[in-house]
Every structure is written in C-alpha cells, then in structure tokens.
C-alpha cells in the first residue's frame, strides 16, 4: 500500500472517529427523541413499518401455554387503579363518517374475537393470557373511517393516559378493544371495563381504561411515549 493511500485511510479513520464522537455528544439519554437517538428512532420507525405485514398473524397459543394467574403482572400509572365513571361508554371520534358511543352491551353484541398470544413487555418479559373483545377494525368499519385518517389515538378515562398508533397496526386482526381476560370479565387491575389489546405492539401501547378512540390525520404522543419511550414499539 502506498504512503498516500495509507494516509487517506488514516484520515478516513480519524474522520469516522470524529463522527462517532459527534454522535455521542448528540446522544442524550434523558431526551431520547432528540439528537442522534431521535434520528435513529425515525429510521427504526420506517424499518418497523416496512417490516410490518398487516396480514401476518401472531401464533394463537394453546390453553396450556397461558401464564399462571399472578404471573401476568398488572401495572398502574397512578396511585390507585382507577374505576370507570358513571355512565361510561366508548366514544369513537375524529375522521369518521358516523361518530359512535358504544356501551359495554353494545360492544358485546358486536362480533366477538378471542385471542391467546404472547405478550411482550418493554421490560423484557413475556407472558400469555387470553382476551375477548371486538376487533378495532370492526369498530372502524361501523364508524366509517375517512381515508385521510392515518393514525389512531386511544385515550383513557384516567387523566393523562393515552397512546397514538399507526392506523395499520390498529386495524390488525389481532388488535382488540377487550372486555374479557382469561374467560372472565376484565378485572380493574387489567383495565376494566375496556382496554386495548394487541399482538403487534409492546404492552405499554395497550391503553387501559379506554374511553375514546380517535381517528386522526397526524400522530400524537402518549403517556409513555412523551416520557421518552419509543413511539412505534411494534413487535
């Protein structure tokens, strides 16, 4: 190797080391949506969208794979598990032809979907439960979603608790508004009377104590997302 190209190599090496250092400066663990980490989150967002197949189903698991009661942890964001306000009903709003208000009885009259899939938590654990509810795609069909809607925002009646999703994941056949868990009515710890459940997202995207589903042209944030957790969070 001639001295000239050798020097070129060293210069290239120094340049790339400089770039890495620059990237390091722009990596702020407390503001992970900004700087280089934020840039790469947007790259990963595209990667995840490209990989997502709306027709690919997560394997439905046999009953024997279900986690023992107590091995499926319940998390809460406030001091107590909230209870539903009197007269609770799910509102379907935003870019829809027919805004809906659906009580639990209305939802139970809609086609019931049962799913038992592996649950993936952002913390790294997995567990299995079965869920009963209505496909969000069915709710969307009833409401008549405008083609301009690209995102769905799920809001809880627990103040400040919400999450924004891409429309494709929300309309996946294994994304439900669930009122039942493991054959029983949903318990308060798990989001009664109604929660979001999906095979294609990490657990923190599945809003509990659901009050409103809004079809929107833009993506918003979420309770966990605004703290710094990744927005797309597909599995």
């Amino acid at each position: 190797m001639s001295a000239l190209t050798r020097r070129g190599f060293l210069a290239a090496g120094a340049r790339s080391a400089g770039l890495v250092a620059l990237g390091g400066l722009a990596c702020d663990s407390d503001r992970p949506h900004a700087g280089f980490l934020g840039l790469m989150e947007r790259v990963n967002d595209r990667f995840q969208r490209a990989l997502f197949d709306p027709r690919r189903l997560a394997p439905e698991l046999p009953e024997g794979e279900a986690s023992a009661p107590g091995d499926f942890p319940a998390y809460r964001i406030g001091a107590v598990y909230p209870s539903a306000p009197v007269g609770w009903a799910l509102r379907v709003t935003g870019l829809v032809d027919r805004p809906l208000t659906l009580g639990l009885d209305d939802l139970r009259r809609l086609p019931r979907t049962h799913t038992r899939v592996r649950h993936h938590c952002v913390e790294g654990w997995s567990a299995v439960a079965s869920w009963d509810g209505v496909r969000l795609a069915e709710v969307a069909r009833l409401a008549g979603v405008d083609p301009r809607a690209r995102y769905v925002e799920f809001r809880s009646f627990e103040p400040g608790y919400f999450s924004s999703w891409d429309l494709e994941s929300a309309l996946h056949p294994q994304t439900l508004v669930a009122y039942g868990m493991n054959g029983d009515l949903l318990a308060r710890e798990y989001g009664a009377p109604l929660r979001l459940y999906s095979a294609v997202k990490l657990g923190y995207k599945m809003v509990k104590y659901l009050a409103e589903v809004s079809f929107l042209p833009v993506r918003t944030g979420g309770y966990w997302e605004d703290q710094g957790y990744e927005w797309f969070a597909g599995v």
């Binding site: 190599f9 663990s29 997560a58 499926f72 790294g124 654990w125 997995s126 567990a127 294609v200 990744e230």
Partner: protein
C-alpha cells in the same frame, strides 16, 4: 498458509505476504467495533436491568445462575430503560454496518486465509499452544504466519457466534414480524437467553484477549499502526 491454497493461488499468497499484519481496513473496523460493541453491550445490560431474569414470566430457566441479579450500573449505558433502548436500537445499525464492512473486506481481500482456523494447518498448533498456556508443555509452537492455532481457533469462534448475537437480537426486536427466526431460536424467551449468553461468551473472550494483548504489546502496536509486512515470519 495451507499447502493446497498456496498451490492454487500463489500470486495471491505472495500479495498476502507483502501486506502488513493488520491492514488498514482491519484496524479501522476493529477499533470502530470496540466503540460500538461497548455501547451495544452497555445499553443491552441497561435493558436487562428492567427484568434481570431469563425464561417466560413465572417460569424462570433453572440453569441460569443469575436470576434476579441486576448487572452493575457502572457497566450500563443509557441511564434508564427508554434511554438504553434508544441507544441499543440506534447503534445496532452502525454495529452491523461496521461488521459488514469488515466481512466484505475479510472475504474479498483473502485475509480469511491467514485468519480463519483450518484444522490441517492449525489443529496441532492450537493444541500445542493450549498445553503451553496451561504450563503442561515447556515450549510454545511457533505461530504459523500471522497467528498461532489457538488464536485462529478463538477468532474464528468469535466470528462464528457473533451472527447469533445479531439474529437473536432481531428475533427479540420483532418476534411477531420475524416468526421463523424467533421459532428457529426456540421462541422469544430462548432468543433472549441466547442474546445474553453470546454476550457473556464475547465478554469472556474480550477478557482473555486483553490479557493476551497485555502480555504481547506488539500486537497492540500492530493493530494501531499496521506493523511491518512479513514481520510475523521473523518472530
């Protein structure tokens, strides 16, 4: 050099002899890799902090001795779970890109000939070196060209398991969208165990590697400046 390779590709063999022990591509990717794998391991351990157990929830793997033991915070990168995840998924791309540059150079330049473990060339030498290192034999067999057999065996082992690190990582990132990969590795929780075990193996390698480099400082100079072509024959 393998006799059969030498016969088949004599001009190429001669070109290899004129090359410095550590060509610029190898040096650059080696040091970039050191930075990147440090960030990947640190942020990976940061993610492990959130759930330092292996096995499905409630069914911890019995063979893993460190159930519930958090890695030391000093070894982690990212500060908190969301931060660590952003570091991990941001630098994963750079880690893989650097590895691909290395592999393309490794294959195209013919460097693999003097670096990979070939039993006919290296097995006896590796055994002799091992006996010497264990103080069961007085003299060490001389290196065959660039490395001794034990070095080739170890470096080849690292190259063999490193892809498993990336593949198990992909299976953890996308267990639903890459179902065949996850199934091939035994499912989500098995992939998580593999991911950590390979990291452990590479950590062990790094420990031995650093000790060996400290015992043979010339190798550090060569990995930084390249070294003199043909110098290894003299040693």
């Amino acid at each position: 050099m393998l006799p059969e390779l030498q016969a088949a590709t004599r001009p190429e063999a001669r070109r290899l002899e004129r090359r410095p022990p550590q060509p610029a591509f190898i040096r650059a990717t080696h040091w970039v890799n050191l930075v990147l794998i440090t960030l990947m391991a640190g942020s990976g351990l940061g993610i492990l902090m959130a759930y330092p157990r292996l096995g499905p929830r409630g069914q911890d793997y019995g063979w893993y001795p460190l159930q519930g033991v958090k890695p030391p915070a000093a070894l982690t990168v990212g500060g908190w779970l969301a931060g660590a995840r952003h570091w991990h998924f941001a630098f994963a791309w750079l880690f893989v890109a650097n590895a691909l540059v290395y592999l393309v150079y490794f294959a195209a330049s013919g460097e693999w000939r003097r670096r990979l473990f070939f039993p006919r060339r290296d097995a006896r030498n590796a055994w002799g070196t091992l006996l010497h290192d264990l103080h069961l034999r007085r003299t060490a067999p001389p290196p065959v060209g660039l490395y001794n057999g034990m070095q080739r065996l170890t470096y080849t082992g690292v190259l063999a398991v490193a892809p498993l690190l990336v593949l198990s990582g992909l299976a953890l990132y996308k267990p639903v969208q890459l179902p065949h990969l996850a199934a091939l590795l035994g499912g989500y929780d098995a992939a998580r165990a593999i991911h950590l075990l390979v990291l452990g193996a590479l950590g062990l390698f790094t420990l031995v590697h650093v000790v060996q480099v400290a015992l043979h400082p010339r190798t550090l100079v060569d990995m930084t400046l390249g070294g003199r072509p043909g110098a290894e024959e003299a040693s």
